[in-house]
């Protein structure tokens, strides 16, 4: 039956074939094909992830690390393999540096709470940026309240970039940690985090990077980045909800006190004194989202199977198409014009509230986010209460970008006058 392959070159990335991997993209909403452009919020799941998670529940499920029986052993091995998979994915030095958490938010809270408790003193400075997600602001505010440290902010330029001169001035003897969003969830800006790391490193200041928006678009090598903490969420990487990753250097994790106490995180418990489990279990109290880690590993396999180079080429093409199309609609204002960006655009349409635009687009079957995107200080910086955010993923195609642009024009038409 097998025939020789045709001699034509196969396209390196076939978006229509990729789309078939995502069952939800076949459904319609409000009588129209779904056009999902809310990927910075959360991504859809390929069949491979759905199968991995449900297959684990169907065939291998038991709690980990607790049973002497075969099933528990299988589950434990799958869990450990998932951790090794994540470590390879991030190019971490050791799987022990991978802590499974619920998501980026929990990772940030873990670091702010645990590292903060051990390291922050009155008058210390915690340095963040003006484009942080609320999860990169509030945990540090809590840590500062508890310790007497001071939260300071690297300003954002009109182009939607970090003011690096200001960063250079702000980083000083009082700086105890720099916590930054790697790629802005609201503007799409790719921050020059290597430059910030280069400012912090000579002073021995640890750098935390929030990679929630990075991992579905770009390969991450934590050792090449030179950062000290990195975190991301599985659900933004085509994986399950409720599972995320904190990577940190072993020496830092070792020195940090536990975040939560309970089962699994202990070595020995006595009423007089409890000793803690080694890494990474010291930070994984209770029964974790075991099936989520299996799904996450499958999502990583899926994305790396396609390849970040191919994803990048495809997304850059669509990003340029959207940028040009949006620029051609006079009533549209795009927040920021960063030199390096991903396919995330926050836009306002003259005279139209983002929620009205969101509803008009919803009626076209187009899912976008209308709101402040958990970045209220950034919205205030640009003088808007909210925006419409359009965000791409590897499965979006030209037809969807064009439909979005038509939808935006329709908003203008409906509310004109």
């Amino acid at each position: 039956m097998s025939r020789p392959r045709p001699a034509v070159s196969v396209a390196p990335f076939d978006v229509e074939r990729v789309r078939k991997d995502f069952p939800i993209l076949a459904r319609s909403v409000r009588g129209r094909p779904l056009i999902y452009l809310d990927n910075a919020n959360s991504t859809q799941k390929p069949q491979a992830v759905i199968d991995a998670e449900s297959g684990f529940y169907r065939e291998h499920y038991a709690n980990i690390h607790r049973g002497v029986y075969l099933l528990s052993q299988e589950a434990t091995e799958a869990y450990d393999r998932a951790r090794e998979r994540v470590a390879r994915f991030l190019n971490a030095g050791d799987p022990r540096e991978i802590v499974f958490v619920r998501g980026t938010t929990e990772a940030m809270n873990l670091v702010a709470s645990s590292w903060g408790r051990a390291n922050l003193k009155p008058g210390d400075q915690v340095l963040i940026s003006g484009m942080e997600h609320h999860s990169g602001i509030v945990p540090w505010q809590l840590a500062c309240e508890a310790s007497g440290a001071v939260l300071e902010v690297i300003p954002v330029t009109d182009d939607g970039e970090l003011d690096l001169d200001a960063a250079d001035r702000l980083i000083g003897d009082r700086t105890k940690i720099v916590s930054l969003i790697h790629i802005s969830n609201a503007l799409g800006t790719v921050n020059p985090v290597e430059e910030i790391v280069a400012m912090a490193k000579p002073r021995g200041i640890p750098v935390l990077l929030d990679g929630a928006q990075t991992i579905s678009h770009r390969a991450v090598d934590v050792r090449a980045l030179g950062c000290d903490f990195y975190c991301f969420s599985g659900h933004k990487l085509f994986g399950p909800t409720g599972i995320g990753v904190l990577w940190a250097r072993e020496s830092l994790l070792d020195a940090m006190p536990p975040y939560q106490g309970g089962g699994n995180m202990i070595h020995q418990v006595a009423f007089e004194k409890t000793t803690y489990a080694p890494l990474p279990f010291k930070f994984e109290a209770g029964t974790t989202n075991i099936a989520g880690t299996i799904g996450l590993a499958a999502a990583i396999d899926y994305v790396e199977g396609i390849g970040y180079d191919a994803i990048g080429t495809h997304e850059r093409h669509l990003t340029a198409r959207l940028a040009d199309g949006l620029a051609a609609i006079p009533q549209v204002r795009v927040l920021g014009s960063p030199r390096e960006r991903i396919g995330v655009f926050s836009v306002t349409i003259e005279g139209i509230h983002p929620h009205d635009a969101g509803t008009v687009l919803d009626l076209e079957g187009i899912a976008v986010r209308a709101g402040h995107h958990c970045t209220q200080p950034l919205m205030a910086r640009f003088g808007v209460p909210a925006t419409i955010r359009i965000s791409l993923a590897l499965y979006n195609n030209e037809r969807e970008c064009d439909a979005l642009l038509q939808g935006v024009s329709k908003c203008v038409e409906v509310f004109r006058g």
Partner: protein, 150 residues
């Protein structure tokens, strides 16, 4: 396009672009600030109540087309009404937005406010349509000055 026009009826678009009573009345006995944290919409409603009657009503703030038009049409519907009628109108309005209509059900005293029936199909937008009404209710409940509805 039909669903779009069902929601954004001409009357709604007109009121959102040219809100009526978008001002602070000369005399104000009650006022409250309302905010939808989801979208940042914010309105302040001002009322002048005299002998249990809404003598004057106005609002300030900003919001989407639905919330602005709803605030505008609320003020038009309530001016000159008794507090009791106002409360009853809010109940009718709330029912219009949340309860599927029964065939032949009376539309009560809603009048022009019935144009908001399309909002029922968009549950997340119900908050937009009721923001000004809830704000008004807060104004009347909180500042319970010696206003008698009896």
């Amino acid at each position: 396009m039909n669903e779009l026009r069902d929601l954004y009826q001409e009357v709604i678009l007109d009121h959102s672009k040219k809100p009526r009573n978008f001002r602070i009345p000369a005399a104000v006995t009650h006022e409250a600030h309302g905010r939808n944290p989801l979208c940042g919409d914010t309105f302040t409603v001002f009322v002048d109540v005299e002998s249990g009657t809404i003598k004057d009503i106005g609002f300030q703030g900003h919001g989407c087309a639905i919330s602005t038009a709803s605030a505008s049409m609320m003020t038009e519907s309530l001016k000159g009404k008794s507090l009791e009628d106002g409360r009853s109108l809010f109940e009718w309005f709330h029912r219009l937005l949340t309860v599927p209509p029964e065939i032949g059900a009376p539309s009560g005293p809603l009048g022009k406010l019935a144009v908001f029936s399309g909002v029922r199909e968009f549950p997340v937008r119900v908050k937009c349509a009721t923001l000004a009404w809830h704000t008004l209710k807060a104004a009347l409940d909180r500042d319970a000055k010696p206003v008698s509805t009896e």
